[in-house]
Symmetry: C2
Subunit: 195 residues, 2 copies
């Protein structure tokens, strides 16, 4: 042997399926290489550490998820942004399990590997930019409480509505979209409060 039998993508794919099946904690260097039939040396030849593998796994997944969300916001369609979560989940059940059933800290604890830090920061800033843009459009300004409202309606509620179906490995039913949409309308309706 001597020529490449495994590349970065192989390791990432094995890690991805393990994480979807059994959670990020089950993604060990041994389990990944075993699934691939690869020796440990090949793994460490390509990834400096387990953290780098898991960080890359998380980051690529969150970017893929965020893409449609950002597009909806840029198109000025807040409801579509809120409904992006169930839609994406239906198309990418495994990736969704990986991303939405676990926290970022279940992938990499403590400091993130330097090569990924900027990527994570950019991702977060882009997301916050979306919240601010939406906030201005829907609520007229992007102060703290408007941003809090935006987070609630665009992120927290959609993710919460989808979670139990991810746990059961099933696509969220249409009712989930209804619940998200009804909440969206209530929270973005101009005259707020109980009266």
């Amino acid at each position: 042997m001597g020529r490449p039998l495994f590349d970065n993508a192989d390791f990432l794919a094995a890690a991805r399926s393990l994480a979807a099946e059994r959670g990020p904690a089950a993604v060990t260097v041994d389990s990944v290489t075993a699934r691939l039939g690869a020796p440990k040396g090949s793994f460490y030849y390509r990834f400096a550490s387990r953290d780098l593998l898991l960080g890359e796994l998380w980051l690529t997944t969150v970017l893929a998820y965020q893409q449609g969300f950002v597009a909806a916001i840029e198109a000025g369609d807040g409801l579509a942004a809120a409904l992006h979560t169930p839609a994406w989940v239906r198309r990418h059940l495994d990736d969704a399990r990986l991303l939405l059933l676990h926290s970022r800290h279940d992938f990499v604890q403590g400091d993130w590997p330097a090569p990924l830090k900027r990527g994570v920061r950019d991702q977060a800033e882009r997301f916050e930019g979306c919240l601010a843009a939406f906030s201005r459009r829907a609520f007229g300004r992007a102060g703290p409480s408007e941003l809090r409202r935006a987070t609630f309606v665009l992120a927290e509620v959609p993710i919460a509505a989808v979670r139990q179906h991810l746990e059961r490995r099933e696509p969220p039913p249409p009712l989930v979209d209804e619940l998200i949409a009804e909440t969206y309308r209530a929270i973005t309706a101009r005259p707020r409060g109980r009266g």
Copy 2:
């Protein structure tokens, strides 16, 4: 040496604070006994396994949390049940972190220790009973989609609204209650749909 220096409650308290600070994974037999200055033998004299400790920790916490929720449902006050989450979180920040920031499976993976199984099952049944009761009252029946709505408005949304504050170790601001209440009214309002 000889007479009891530590009892079950001591170990549970040490585990509780560790879990709140650093998550259930950080609750190891060594970390718990170290925090207490107790020897390992004392721990295993009282708990058959780490799983038993963590299971008991989770179960007692979820029961404490559920108590106010059940009371609100039995009083026929659905909104109070939805707002119970932020209220309880404010009074028990540490326990709330422990309970709401992690899944049950982060405490005990695989099969639960036999002595706890029944407790967990009863707890789940009681919760489902509440959902059904609320469902009947708010939606007229307790079919699958009404139960799904009930879960959304009584559990998923309140917990989601509170999460980011738990992560920051801060009490949820009043705005969180507003968001939950507005959602509650929208979802339980009689004439549904977009019209």
